[in-house]
């Protein structure tokens, strides 16, 4: 942060309805810090439909439209088109969706907007399951994680949303973390200066769904980065990969052990996850090393 945030100037006011330790609440705070008051939010069904507050209250001090679950990207595209027709092209239109609304039910609209290169900032705050409805698996749920609909652990890997978005050749895509606000804010400010579809994949811890104490929320997000489970990087024009935060290459077990959703993992399963993480990390480093 260039300067400490204070309640008076913040665009997210106190009194929101997030659970204690909610990563998604922190993520919004940083996003609005970076993008500023000339921002309009499109909010599909997700935890934030509740966090923002009930009518007639709102924790958000920028214009906000609650949209249908699967429509975040295209509703934002409609807002953008209207603003452009009114000569207001400098306003940021930010779609703010969870992993279900992005990886699953909203991916058709997201893909459509990205293919058209609609001029929106799309932020997926990923808490790795349908947390608002009570911890059901999504395609963002990691391999072997417990949810209420994967009682013996999910048996498929997490969908690689960044690869999907990069494949659309959009001008900018980035991962971000609530544990690295400087990196997140810098990426947002960079993205705000770019025209076209800009996509953010933000890991947002959910103490309730991950079965962790709320005071470990930021620590878990940090460990996700330092174990290479969730590396921080950006992709320009779908091709130019840059790692933005160096990793400490800690063992994945450091990240898995404190989380109740991984409590039933055997040593073999942890080894399997380590191999998967190592494979993905090596691939990402190859991409980042490619000068194209």
């Amino acid at each position: 942060m260039t300067a400490p945030m204070t309640a008076e100037k913040e665009l997210m006011s106190p009194g929101h309805l997030a659970c204690a330790g909610c990563g998604a609440a922190l993520a919004m705070r940083y996003a609005l810090e970076a993008l500023g008051p000339r921002t309009i939010i499109v909010l599909p069904a997700c935890c934030w439909s509740i966090i923002a507050g009930p009518f007639p209250h709102s924790t958000l001090r920028v214009p906000t439209f609650h949209a249908a679950f699967e429509t975040a990207a295209v509703t934002a595209a409609g807002v953008r088109a209207a603003l452009d027709m009114q000569g207001k092209s400098d306003i940021n239109v930010m779609a703010w969706a969870g992993d279900g609304g992005t990886f699953d039910i909203g991916i058709q609209a997201l893909s459509g907007a990205a293919e058209r290169n609609d001029d929106i900032i799309y932020i997926c705050y990923d808490n790795e399951a349908y947390m608002n409805t009570g911890i059901q698996r999504s395609s963002a749920t990691p391999n072997l994680a417990w949810t209420t609909t994967t009682p013996r652990g999910k048996l498929r890997a997490k969908k690689n949303i960044m690869a999907i978005m990069a494949a659309h050749m959009i001008p900018y895509a980035a991962t971000a973390s609530i544990a690295f606000p400087d990196d997140f804010v810098a990426k947002l400010k960079k993205a705000a200066g770019i025209t076209g579809t800009r996509f953010f994949h933000v890991l947002a811890t959910c103490p309730v769904g991950w079965r962790i104490p709320s005071n470990l929320s930021v620590k878990m997000a940090r460990l996700a980065v330092h174990t290479n489970v969730f590396p921080l990087y950006e992709v320009e024009e779908g091709e130019r990969y840059h790692l933005t935060v160096p990793s400490r290459n800690l063992p994945v077990e450091d990240y898995l052990k404190p989380q109740g959703r991984f409590q039933n993992l055997t040593a073999e399963m942890i080894a399997e996850i380590q191999q998967e993480v190592d494979r993905n990390w090596a691939k990402l480093n190859r991409l980042a090393a490619d000068p194209s």
Binding site: P54, P63, T71, A82, M85, G112
Partner: protein, 385 residues
């Protein structure tokens, strides 16, 4: 200026004359010509608007909802399965009180696949909070689009203008295309009281679990009531400028009519010919065309139908297990009249593009004239045995 236009293109002209600013659409037969023409109009500058070809009808409606809440005049068009896919977003547009205008080119739904006309698509959407019109000619299609924006923006409800697939959409007629200045005189630029505005930030659609929810819903019903009056005012203004107009219901030869046909859309054109033939034989038959289905014009329908001996309703759709939707609603309207009211004979006909020929309509009238009461809620005409 008079032009020879297909119904679809008449709609496109209506949208351009209404100065729509954001148009989002997805192709589906028999609607596609509407948005093809609009994409041309945006590309060559005839319309100062943004045309967005989206990835589904669901997204088309979501996109224009976003554009509308951000303060632009918007349009989309669809048919059949496209309208069905939009269903969730139809509720959203009405719930958000947005003056979205949409043309729906009436087409049945599969399976089996069929691209031809009936009213199953729009009749299935009567409960979504949309004002609904059914037009009978290409001229009326163009004019009703312009009127739709006036009504929608006055009462803050979305409007669906329905035109019969192929019978209008792909059929060329002479259409008097109004001058832009004349349209501007009846339709000022869209200037909403509330919109997404960084200078005056508000949240739209936040969760509401208290009694305010009931208040918002009753507000939609009040706006529907208001829209019935608005439609008449808009029509009167329209008449002053253009010299033509359309009532919410259109009576034809109802003077002394003992048997009255009721229908919507192009079936009314054929029905008029049949009514004339009965009148020539000295039989007192008349026609009432329902142009506005939502809000349902209870008062007009009651006053025009209550003196008849028999009512014959032609439905181009069926609510399975009940009867034709129009017949059901006519019965509901008449039930509210004092004293006795005429029996309603419901006929299901013209599904999936089946021609509604004069002989079929004559058969309906004859059957209706013979019976004291309908033997059942609906009688199917034209079913191959």
């Amino acid at each position: 200026m008079k032009k020879v236009l297909m119904g679809d293109h008449a709609v496109s002209y209506g949208v351009t004359l209404s100065r729509a600013q954001v148009i989002a659409a997805y192709p589906i037969t028999p609607q596609t010509f509407i948005v093809e023409e609009l994409s041309e109009m945006c590309a060559d500058g005839r319309l100062d608007g943004r045309f967005i070809m989206v990835e589904s009808e669901h997204s088309a409606m979501a996109c224009v909802i976003g554009a509308s809440v951000a303060g632009s005049r918007v349009f989309t068009a669809t048919s059949s399965h496209g309208l069905a896919l939009m269903h969730e977003m139809l509720h959203w547009a009405a719930g958000a009180r947005l003056p979205v205008v949409m043309a729906n080119v009436n087409r049945t739904l599969g399976p089996p696949w069929n691209i031809l006309c009936d009213h199953s698509d729009s009749m299935s959407q009567r409960d979504t909070g949309w004002i609904q019109f059914y037009v009978e000619s290409n001229q009326e299609a163009l004019d009703t689009i312009i009127q739709a924006y006036s009504i929608a923006e006055r009462v803050r409800l979305p409007v669906m203008v329905n035109l019969d697939g192929f019978f209008l959409s792909h059929t060329a007629e002479v259409v008097d295309v109004p001058d832009q200045e004349q349209v501007d005189a009846v339709l000022p630029p869209y200037s909403p009281e509330f919109k997404l505005d960084v200078a005056d930030p508000h949240t739209f659609g936040a969760i509401c679990l208290d009694s305010n929810f009931m208040k918002m819903r009753s507000g939609i019903q009040e706006a529907m009531d208001e829209s019935g009056k608005a439609a008449i005012e808009v029509d009167n203004d329209f008449k002053e400028i253009f010299g033509r107009h359309y009532d919410v219901v259109e009576p034809y030869r109802l003077d002394g009519a003992k048997t009255i046909l009721v229908t919507a859309g192009t079936a009314a054109s054929t029905s008029r010919v049949v009514v004339d033939a009965f009148r020539e034989k000295g039989e007192p038959v008349g026609l009432l065309r329902i142009r506005m289905l939502r809000p349902f014009p209870f008062a007009q329908i009651r006053s025009l139908l209550r003196e008849a001996d028999r009512i014959a309703v032609i439905d181009r759709s069926i609510s399975y297990g009940l009867s034709g939707g129009l017949a059901t609603e006519i019965r509901a309207a008449l039930y509210g009249t004092e004293g006795s009211h005429p029996p309603v004979f419901g006929y299901i006909a013209g599904l999936g593009g089946k021609d509604l020929v004069p002989e079929a309509i004559s058969e309906m009238i004859s059957r209706c004239q013979k019976g004291q009461r309908p033997a059942r809620e609906d009688l199917w005409i034209g079913v191959k045995s």
